[in-house]
Structures are given as structure tokens and as C-alpha cells.
Symmetry: C2
Subunit: 232 residues, 2 copies
């Protein structure tokens, strides 16, 4: 089985045990790259190492980031795992058909144990992946990683894996554009009610994520933002 | 999603955490019946309850048995999970095609964390199920349960579940016959080298398990054993 280059990103995980169990099952199914955003407990984490067992090398190579934004700079396609009952402008797929949504430079996000990914974190996603369950939707974090890792390795085993080329720019380009846009909009008095600013920014991220902007398109948009900035 | 009546049997599990995590993921994927053979730690187990979270009702209803034999009396088809590198007279399937092997009155066995199912425990199996992994074969017990439970629920969701009718007798009939046979063979001096007795008994269990004996066939064989017993 070839190593799968998809990145697993745990966003604000709480329990070291779950991080360790996730690393172990990644190792079982030949996923290599673990990224962790702002873990609750100190790092490195003894409980994580104990649970990782034979997957300890995944933990040792894990990269830690302060923010989700920093964790996805080089990523081009983001799958966010989560429930689907929220009202969002996002395409939803299930773990059953993850094979139709594989991209190069892809990352899969898993939210914290208690609440999953926040609405703000979900705005980063190109697509939301739901694991179908019975009435009890509350999957343990590491079990969710297990199911996704298993599905990916199954596709690979059955030679049904084929990565779509992501023609959009890396997420860092998108993010830099958004940060620029948010600032200019603020300067120009776009946020009439400051309390609405976070929501409006999230809507903008969702909208421009959905657009799968190329590097050229981002340059075009930044030109327009600069125009606005200069007050033409 | 309809409740799946397949029984999950943990054979000599060591860690309460794993029992709890297995119960939770069974609940996620609508498996209801958990049986536990000779757990290492005392029962009920606090760590199991903590890990089970929303799946606590599965633990509460779990049945505890002293031996594997007692745990499968009403079962008609046994799938044993395990690695496939052992030399055995058993059909091996993978989790990918578990759908072709579903039976009524079915149980799926998971061995202890450290060593999996022993060769003696494997003799009870109608078929051995392997979860394909990369180089690191060592799946956490609860993760193995997760993968199997997920596959079963997926089949059910996709309406691809259909149970084969098991025409063979319940395992209790088979077992009673074997116990009878072992005793008579002993009385008749069949076990020339007493140290070989366990192995020979295991070979007999494997052979007669493979035969999928009906109740009528078991009656026939017991007649022959009785003849032997009476010294005709």
C-alpha cells in the first residue's frame, strides 16, 4: 500500500488519549502527516504517546500550529468532518463517497471532542464530510479518524484512488486576500455594526472558498481591493 | 437505520477503556448486543463506563461469560477477527466483503489487546475476517470494532444487507457433541500422547465447524459416538 499524502488536522483536540489513538490508526492505514491546531494540553503529551503505541512516529513528526489558518497554508483542498444539520453554504458528502472527492494537497479536519468544528472553522472547508451513524451521532474523535483513514486505505487497496488536481491557489493565497479584504472593508466602514463583523467575514470566506479561486483570480481580486483601498 | 442483531463478542479484553470505546462505537452504528468473555478487570468497570459515554446502555446490557463456549451457545455463525498469517484451515475474508458473509444469529469475535484470538479460540470460527492495513497491523481493539461496525452499518444504509439463513445447528449442539466425542476418545485411548490432546481437539473442532452440521447430522454423529462409547 502506498503512503497516502492526505493530511489529518486535529483542530483544538482536548484529550491526549484521542490524539494518540488517532496517530495509531493513521499508522495502521498508512496515513503519515498529522497536524494539530492548538491542543488543549501541553505538548508533547504523555497520554498521547502511550495511546499511539506503534504509531508513535506519527506523533513525533506531527506539526503543531497556533491557528487553523497557519495549519492549512500549503493545502489546496479542505474536507471538514462534521454533522450536517447546520445551515451552511457547503457541499456535503458522506464517508461512503469520499473517493469522489480526493484532491492533491488535501487536508481533512476534525474538530474538538466536545463540539466538533465551529462554524468559523467550517468556513475553511471546500466540502463537509459526514459519517453516517444511527441515532447516536456522537463519534469519538479517534473513531472518526479511524473510519476516514479506513475508507482512504480501502480506496487505495482497491485501486480506486485517484486524486483530482486542485487548480485553485493554496489556502495561504486565499487567506492573505481575505485578510486584506477584511482590513480594507473595515477602513471603508463596511462593517456598520461591529458585532456583525465576524459573521460577515465568515460569509466572505465561505463564498470565496466555494469559488475555488486560481492564483490569477486572486491577483485580479486583490487589484480590486487595492483600488478600493486607495479610494479610487 | 434498523438495529443490527449481530452480536459483538470481546474475548478476554484487558482494558476497560477499550471495552467502553467499543460500546460507544457500537451505539454509533446501531449494533446492540455486546458479550464479554472473561474480562481481565473486575466488572462492572468504571473506565469502561467513562469511555462508553453515550453508549453506556450497551455496557449496561452487556452479558458476561466465563468461557467463549458459553458465549456462543445460541449463535449459528461465527466470524473471528484476526491476522491471516497463521496456518489454519479457515476461510479468510476481509472487512471489504463482509457483506457476502452475513448470517442470521451471527457473532463477531475480537481477541484480547495483546495477542488477539488464540489458535484455540479461532477454532470456533466459521470464517476469519481480516481488516487490511498497512505495515502496522496492530489495530487498537476498539478501532477494529469501529471498522467492522461501520462496514455493517454502511451495508445497512445502502440496503446491501441480506442475511444468509444458517441451516447449521446452534453452536451449543456442536459443542455438546464435541465434548462427548473428546471424552469418549479419551476413554478409548485415542490420545496416545496426552500432550497432543489439545491440538487434536482443536483440529476436530475446526473440522466439524467447517462442516456446518445440521441438527440431524449432529444426532447421527452422536449415535456413532455412543456406539463407540458402548464398545460395539
Amino acid at each position: 500500500m502506498q503512503k497516502n499524502k492526505t493530511k489529518i488536522i486535529l483542530v483544538e483536540p482536548q484529550m491526549g488519549e484521542n490524539i494518540g489513538a488517532a496517530a495509531r490508526v493513521m499508522s495502521n492505514f498508512d496515513l503519515e502527516e498529522l497536524r494539530i491546531v492548538n491542543p488543549r494540553d501541553s505538548w508533547p503529551n504523555e497520554k498521547a504517546v502511550a495511546m499511539a503505541a506503534s504509531g508513535a512516529y506519527i506523533l513525533e513528526n506531527a506539526k503543531i500550529f497556533d491557528t487553523l489558518e497557519e495549519a492549512v497554508t500549503d493545502v489546496k483542498y479542505i474536507i471538514a468532518t462534521g454533522a450536517t444539520d447546520r445551515d451552511m453554504e457547503k457541499q456535503v458528502i458522506t464517508s461512503y463517497n469520499i473517493g469522489d472527492n480526493l484532491h492533491e494537497n488535501m487536508a481533512i479536519l476534525f474538530g474538538c471532542e466536545k463540539t466538533g468544528l465551529s462554524n468559523e472553522q467550517l468556513t475553511y472547508a471546500d466540502v463537509v464530510l459526514n459519517i453516517p451513524t444511527g441515532k447516536n451521532h456522537s463519534l469519538n474523535l479517534a473513531q472518526a479518524v479511524a473510519v476516514v483513514a479506513y475508507e482512504l486505505s480501502k480506496l487505495q487497496d482497491l485501486d480506486k484512488i485517484s486524486y483530482l488536481e486542485a487548480e485553485n491557489a493554496p489556502k495561504s493565497d486565499l487567506n492573505n486576500m481575505l485578510v486584506h479584504m477584511y482590513r480594507v472593508l473595515d477602513e471603508k466602514g463596511y462593517y456598520k455594526n461591529p458585532r456583525m463583523r465576524p459573521t460577515m467575514e465568515q460569509n466572505l470566506r465561505t463564498l470565496f472558498t466555494k469559488a475555488k479561486l486560481t492564483e490569477q483570480e486572486i491577483r485580479t481580486l486583490r487589484g480590486i481591493i487595492s483600488l478600493l483601498e486607495k479610494g479610487y
